[in-house]
């Protein structure tokens, strides 16, 4: 097991390095620079700025410097917001995004699983159609539409929840709902499909022939086998939800890290682009590792490591 994790760790670093390298050179190949603005800056000032941020050096040197800093977990300064470092930005934004994301994931997972299981058990019945209609709506309605509808109905028309900002539990309800519908729908549809398949398996018939109750059959025998495909999507879903979403955070004025992704690209704020990408990739890679571990826990046939020699 130790050897397995060591191997995985190395593979993770190589993956991350490839992502860093790719992003770095792609980013610099995009025309424009942080100082390309409407009003032209004095050439001398621009030269000075570039020298200050070391943008005048050859690309390969810049790349080397970036990697050197990264090893010390230093993501560099923001060019546009010169008083802040990228580490500050992520340090402030991520906890908020993570909190929102965590609750969203929990809500999406629980409601998605319930919808999916119930739909599968009432296959082709009214409940199935109802659940799947909800799921299709959830997938097709973009979350910014969902967010505005929720604000209109539950904050303006019926002032139950606050309209925006982020402080008390009441503030969290609407953004969580808006953010959770999409993932919930995906999870519900996947769960339904995979439950339907599992329910036709012979071992479900065996369980019935033993006289087990439907509740036991579903939870003990069916659900666990049906979860594998759900866990697969959950990894990437979790990574994207936990690192914040631009639109929802913007609509609800949540101080998460979602906005940095978009702002940094518009501004060609090179260190921030790199910082957010590296951070997102690291989280994604970590989630995929968790998914692989979850596979091994759910299905004993999946071995993470080679059998130890006896």
């Amino acid at each position: 097991m130790k050897a397995y994790f060591f191997k995985r760790l190395i593979a993770m670093f190589i993956t991350l390095w490839l992502i860093i390298t790719g992003t770095f050179f792609l980013m610099h190949s995009v025309p424009g620079s942080p100082f390309n603005e409407e009003r032209t800056t004095n050439e001398a000032i621009q030269k000075n700025l570039e020298a200050y941020y070391q943008l005048d050096k050859p690309l390969i040197v810049q790349y080397g410097n970036y990697l050197k800093a990264l090893v010390k977990f230093d993501l560099g300064p923001s060019i546009k917001k010169s008083s802040q470092t990228v580490n500050d930005m992520l340090g402030r934004g991520f906890p908020v995004s993570f909190e929102l994301g965590m609750y969203t994931l929990i809500v999406a997972l629980i409601s998605g699983l319930i919808l999916g299981v119930v739909a599968a058990l009432r296959h082709n019945g009214i409940i199935d159609y109802l659940a799947m209609s909800i799921a299709v709506l959830g997938i097709s309605i973009p979350n910014f539409v969902m967010a505005t509808v929720l604000i209109q109905q539950l904050a303006v028309n019926l002032p139950i929840f606050p309209v925006a900002t982020w402080s008390s539990p009441q503030h969290m309800v609407l953004p969580i709902l808006a953010l959770a519908t999409g993932p919930m729908a995906i999870i519900a549809r996947l769960t339904r499909t995979s439950m339907l398949e599992v329910l036709t398996q012979d071992y479900i018939k065996t369980a019935k022939a033993k006289g087990l109750s439907p509740v036991k059959i579903v939870f003990k025998h069916a659900l666990r086998n049906a979860l594998l495909p759900v866990v697969t999507v959950l990894g990437s879903l979790a990574a994207s939800i936990l690192t914040g979403t631009f639109v929802i955070e913007k609509i609800f004025a949540i101080p998460g890290m979602g906005k940095y992704f978009v702002d940094s690209i518009n501004n060609r704020d090179y260190p921030v682009i790199m910082g957010t990408t590296v951070f997102y990739s690291a989280i994604l890679i970590f989630m995929l590792l968790l998914v692989d571990i979850a596979y091994g826990v759910l299905d004993p046939r999946i071995k993470l490591h080679k059998k130890e020699a006896k």
Partner: protein
């Protein structure tokens, strides 16, 4: 002889887009205590549907039990509600399915899968249940049962898994064991071992077995009585000796002739020409008439009466009628 289970005039249908398939059309038989009754017939003759109906395991819908009675311990299983059925399934009547590779849940240890049945039906602690499970694994011939309990199905071979499935079915000491093609998915040497195990278990526990199979070799080894099914009906029923040595129904004869024999004069097998009838609209008369070399006009029109040839032996065939016998003898 004590009757453990009585099936009377069972009718089972499945509704499909094409219409209603009448899979079982009036099956009746008794199961005696401690015997092995084999139900044989080709694919689609209704033998599995019959057996699954006894446990009420056919999916409803699309399946539907249209009529008949299944009497077990003075109860009609057809009239029972789900919760009552659950108390019988696994406890009094249990079932072994065809493919041991898929009949076990891959994500649960075999110990847990064996124990959950006892825990469901009898008020035992986990420790007691475990002891019973170990006992059962020993009974079905699995070495090191304590260690094996903690393993998962994929760590066992096909034959071992079938032994586990059998242990699982026997764990509550049922009165009736229904084995649906229990050896079909196994290779021949393992088949012999499993059949030996069935005989051994029957001797030790006195369980009555309904053995569903299309393999006459298996039947010859373990069955006390044999029911031959064709197109949803039992066409001939008798002791093993009667069916193998004095088959009366042309279908039974055809079935026996289509089995490879070492002592046959010709090297060729004699297949039964034609295919079974369409069960969407089964024939009014004898369903085998269209393939039967002895078919008479009456066979197409009226289903033959049951003729009792001995205490055990019964057959549905017009050839048993006095008039037909006279006709046949007049040709000779």
């Amino acid at each position: 002889m004590e009757k453990v289970l009585q099936v009377k005039d069972l009718h089972v249908s499945f509704s499909t887009y094409g219409g209603e398939v009448k899979a079982v059309r009036g099956v009746s038989f008794d199961l005696h205590k401690g015997e092995t009754l084999a139900i044989v017939g080709e694919s689609g003759c209704g033998k599995s549907v019959t057996s699954q109906s006894i446990m009420r395991l056919i999916p409803e819908p699309p399946g539907k039990i249209r009529g008949g009675e299944i009497i077990f311990k003075n109860m009609d299983l057809i009239k029972l509600k789900e919760p009552e059925l659950r108390k019988i399934r696994g406890a009094n009547i249990s079932m072994i399915f065809q493919d041991p590779m898929t009949a076990l849940n891959p994500t649960i240890t075999i110990g847990e899968q064996i124990m959950e049945g006892i825990i469901q039906h009898e008020k035992l602690t986990r420790a007691q249940a475990k002891r019973v499970a170990v006992e059962m694994l020993t009974l079905v011939g699995i070495p090191n049962p304590e260690i094996r309990l903690k393993q998962y199905p994929h760590q066992f071979s096909g034959g071992m898994r079938q032994r586990i499935v059998i242990a699982m079915a026997l764990v509550c000491r049922p009165d009736v064991l229904i084995a649906d093609e229990p050896t079909t998915a196994l290779d021949v040497t393992i088949q012999a071992q499993i059949l030996e195990l069935f005989r051994d278990i029957q001797k030790k526990t006195g369980v009555s077995i309904i053995l569903i199979t299309h393999d006459l070799g298996v039947v010859a080894q373990v069955a006390d009585r044999i029911a031959v099914m064709y197109a949803g009906r039992i066409v001939e029923l008798g002791t093993r000796r009667e069916i193998f040595y004095k088959p009366q129904h042309p279908y039974t004869k055809g079935l026996l002739q289509s089995v490879p024999r070492l002592d046959a004069e010709k090297g060729e097998l004699v297949p039964i020409p034609g295919t079974p009838p369409d069960l969407f609209s089964p024939p009014v008369g004898c369903a085998f008439a269209a393939r039967c070399p002895y078919a008479m006009e009456v066979c197409d029109r009226v289903y033959p009466f049951k003729t009792h040839l001995s205490e055990q032996h019964q057959v549905d065939c017009w050839l048993q009628d006095e008039r037909a016998k006279k006709l046949v003898s007049s040709f000779k």
